[in-house]
Assembly symmetry: C2
């Protein structure tokens, strides 16, 4: 039983940048484990949640909202359409665009995934008081210039 454990250097733990990377990795992994059983991955959940909140959207709008490449939306939309959670239909006003809309099954799935997301969040932040949790979210939103 060798190797005393060495703590992370203060050069790393002293920076929010490093801490955010580690926290993001943990959150992503935990959420992924939790929603895999209902047939979603974090990315596809993000897409469904976006369509659930903003109504029918083009794939380009989805990409713009989530800050990802339009080409990445294609595969995610394929997967969700194949599983019956959303529909593609051509926008009559601009036939280049696909309007993405949730099916009833997709709406039920989002509701379920929302519950799971809240549970994972609650477990992740369990060391913090309610006030600290809200302050943490507020600070990160401010840095990211959101809300």
């Amino acid at each position: 039983m060798p190797s005393h454990e060495h703590p992370l250097p203060q050069a790393l733990t002293g920076h929010a940048g490093y801490l955010a990377v580690r926290l993001g990795q943990r959150a992503q992994r935990q959420f992924e484990q939790a929603i895999l059983p209902i047939g979603l991955r974090p990315q596809t959940y993000d897409l469904l949640a976006t369509v659930a909140e903003h109504g029918p959207l083009s794939q380009r709008d989805i990409a713009g909202t989530l800050g990802i490449e339009p080409a990445r939306v294609v595969g995610m939309t394929d997967e969700l359409e194949r599983n019956g959670f959303l529909t593609r239909r051509v926008d009559p006003a601009d036939r280049r665009r696909n309007l993405i809309a949730l099916t009833p099954s997709g709406r039920r799935l989002v509701a379920k995934a929302d519950r799971i997301a809240r549970e994972v969040e609650d477990e992740l932040l369990s060391p913090l008081t309610a006030r600290m949790r809200e302050d943490l979210r507020t600070a990160m939103r401010r840095v990211l210039d959101l809300s």
Copy 2:
């Protein structure tokens, strides 16, 4: 000029998990751009900072401290050794182990990278007060069970 911008759904911006993923991505990208000119990547900086703080370490100890796979340390150590920033020498007490130590050049590089890391951190958190920055770091350390 179509597409009004749609904001991120509250299902995402309301969760620290999602915000941490986004913040981690941004921090990682900005830090990467900033240290590339001095021949480092975030990963190799983490390794150097660990050795700088804890003195000579085996590759396994480095992996354990950073929470990564020992196999990943091999390539990073190769790269840093090739560039003259650290040395591998066999541990006389256990000839399976390599003791990784910084060279004078490596020590200078870490000092430079530390300065850059502080600058990037300062820029990243510029929307926050000093108090909010410290609270943010404290909250993330607590969630990650560090320090």
